[in-house]
Amino acid sequence: MKPPAFDYVCARSLDEAIDALGRRPGEAKILAGGQSLTPMLNFRLAHPGMLVDINRIPGIDAIRDDDGGVRIGTLARHRAIEVSDSIRKKFPILTAAAAHVGHLAIRNRGTFGGSIAHADPAAEWPMLALLLDAQIEAKGPQGARTIPAREFFTTFLTTALGDAEILTEVKLPALPAKTGWGFEELSRRPGDFALAAVAAIVTLDGKTIKDARISMGGVGGTPLRAPGAEALLRGKPADAALFEQAGKKAAEESDPSNDVHATADYRRHLVSVLTRRALTSAAEKAAQG
């Protein structure tokens, strides 16, 4: 469990990092918090010829208010998100979910952008980026671009980022009024990756569901939205039977597989239970808000 040899570059600016990546296309990897990459190196599952360390690039870890929403710099640590007042006010679902990201030691080092770029289908930030219709900003040799979350997660551990592109910032657009959230996760132990996780937001108009979004983690090659279940909810009065039905629909829309911790069947069942619970909790909060 020792990594194979690699070259190491400590970048002091984004341009320097992009330049370094461009010099060894396909061979260089960014090192952010290292909480996913270093285990892969130690298991020799990754053999990058070069690591480009972005930890010393100033200014890319900021959490900023933006037009009712927030912008989260790629290097913001999980822990910074967990304790951010601004996030707690605007996106309390992130605050709640942060507690599920590994353990404190991991949260102190792991980064928001690293998690999204790594794109583990069971990780919390990718599924929340998808839920919140995040705008993911990247910079590469060809300049900067913005990728909507729905287009970002392509397949298992794979994203729309190019070889020499760096994820720089993630914008979470403001949520409408009368919106509540629910986050439900089941893992074997606290801090483990989810067997299944469901995040939901519900916007109410009186007792009627004006809009609902559901995203699912750990039950497909990428984090998934549940468009059928979302459609089923829209325009209907919020009630337990509806949430139950939406849970079943979401389960159909999930695409889990077997592993040493659980079977696909059980995960699909979890989606229905967790979706029902997340929607119930989201609707309650929306009604209060």
Binding site: A5, R189, P190
Partner: protein, 789 residues
Amino acid sequence: MAVTKLVGARVTRVEDPRFLCGQARYVEGIQLPGMLHIAYVRSAHAHARILAVDAKQAEALPGVHRVFTGADIASLGPMGQPFRADVFPHPVFKQCVWPCLATGKVRYVGEPIAAVLADTRYIAEDAAELVEVQYDPLPAVIDPEAALLPGAALLHEEFGDNVVMKVSGGGGDADAALRGAALVVRDRFRTNRHCAMPMEGRATLAAPGPDGDLTLWTSTQTPHLVRSRVAAIMGFPEQKLRVVGPDVGGGFGLKCHVFAEEVLACFFAREVGRPVKWIEDRREHFLGSFHAKDLVVDCEMGFDADGTLLGMRADIIGDLGAYSADPWPSPFEALQLAAALPGPYRVRHYAYDVRCVCTNKTTLSVYRGVGLPAAVLVQEQLMDVAARKLGLDPAEIRRRNLIAPSEFPYDSITGLHYDSSSSSDALEKGLAAIDYDGFRARQRAAREQGRLLGIGICTYIEMTTFGTHYWAPLGIEHSAYESATVRFDAQGGVTLSVGTFSHGQGHHTTYAQMLADELGIAIEDVRFEQGDTSATAYGWGTWGSRSVVAGGGAVVGAARKVRDKMMRIASHVLEVAPEDLEIAPGKIVVKGAPQRSLAVREIARIAVYSSWRLPPGEDPGLEATQYYDPPPVTFANATHIAEVEIDPGTGRVEIPRYLVVEDCGVMINPRIVEAQVVGGIAQGLGNALYEHHLYDENGQLLTTSLMDYLVPTAADVPDVRVEHIETPTPLTVNGVKGMGEGGSIGAPAAVLNAVADALAPFGASVRELPLHPERVWRLIHESGSDTRA
């Protein structure tokens, strides 16, 4: 006699600062000039012939010093100490041949085939990837029952089958007892394969010294045993081999074995004339250390109509993996299970059959609790099943069958001499402490709201200590006595050196408490020495909950020899008869006239420094060594009660309350006792809820990281309340019984019973661990009924 009385006090552990402040010294921390690093090339196949091993490319890599293969180590004897043939002759037990590096054939994924010695571990691993092994894969046998079938692939062809041990035993007439029973409950239990998972894996560093000497630093629980076995396997003079166990980060029984990697480190160091180090990484630990607990148990128990246990029978299959461990033959897990199955209950009719089979999996051997966690699980779950069928409460059926206090000493049907026990008191105390009746009321109310609460009781009697005369009739070649040396220096400080090996148990503290009471010294006066075969008399290390009885007995024995001499010196100096003297803190005083005294420091100075002041005829020095062979077994007992709540929607199990009433006889230090209990429970919860090694049909281990093989972390262990009963045993020096393994023995059964209790309305039969959410959910779901979350 002792006035100070530190025995029994909640003394804070004196060894903690070194561990908490990063001052501990593990093998990994020892750096020697010119040291090379080993990386092992391990088998990628579960079962295959090795056609060729080509190390040319690896040897050509800069920084690589040498690559060894099976052909290079032909002079090393095989691993494995068989049972004595007078007890278990072939073919009752068949000793397989286990070379230190595979030659001819590999029998499990992870078996070492070659070793690369290089300047750094990084280079060694790079080179290990370049060693080309040509395999001719053979069919692999993974399931222990499949291994029994005719036509199954054979691991050790010379045996003709895969059964390496077959024994039967028991007593009375189990068939008749079961025939006459009003109720027979039976079930099949399959225990989950585990591994010990200490924080520090195995680690070895061997260095050649002058005059052809060798020193081996190794992460072990049993340095003297390693020395004897390594010397024997190498054919090396034992007096020239020094084995040192430095600080060790956990062992749990795994490290009371002798490993090929220890022999090889010594061999390589001699061959290359340089120090060589190997630190097991986590992946190697999963694949290459021993596993534990892979058992299939069919058990039936017969009761009369009022719940009296009439007799029982068990058919046990032990999966040993590929080889039999050294120096404890691997069948022990299954044999201990068979011996322990009747437990704390009155059983007069019992029969068991044990078959141990080889499979193409990592070798299995003893681990904390050895056989007892499984025995207790089977026995305690069947007790509950019987209670349910008879309409009795689980507490009540236990009351009716526990051996009563008045019946001790009690000779069990498997030949165990239960000297003393407080099983019934522990049960009643536990039920009261957890408010058992109150729980049942809460449980009923919760069920009406669709919440699933359960409570599980587990009552067990635990073998501890295991002296030489426990092992001898079981055909073990080696002994299990202990030794201790107490030596005063000229200032009155004491060096205590022992043959046991603390690797987390706090022996420095407990032994110092004992010494302080015996010698009138302070705990801080004691320097503690263990683990270095050059500095300690022969002893057998620490395992089997033995140290406080075996090691403590030796410590007290040595202290008393020294104390007698102190009395003689004081008697001479104070001109008072020895009978009129007694020990007080720091001095020896005249009974009834405490102003007349002689300081212990002064006595030490006389004996060690100014020996001209000694009484005539008295030898100089103030030191004694005591060898002590403890009783064959001492019996601790406990009741565990776990309360669980299950999420009906997901199957997730929570443990809001956990209570233990334990009795390990006289406690030296309740704080250490409690910590051992809680630590054991943490491991038992691993057994109950998380840990499980999975193999695919080709014998590939699927659980080779801590993301796949889950162990409980501090965050996953509930608050455990520990209550005590102290029933001294007449068999030991000061009434102590062994302790340490207990928590891990009781927890799996307590949790399983609690889950079964919670799921009783569904008629679910719970007999497999771990109780991960999916398994529990299926137990609910597949029982037909439904409950809303």
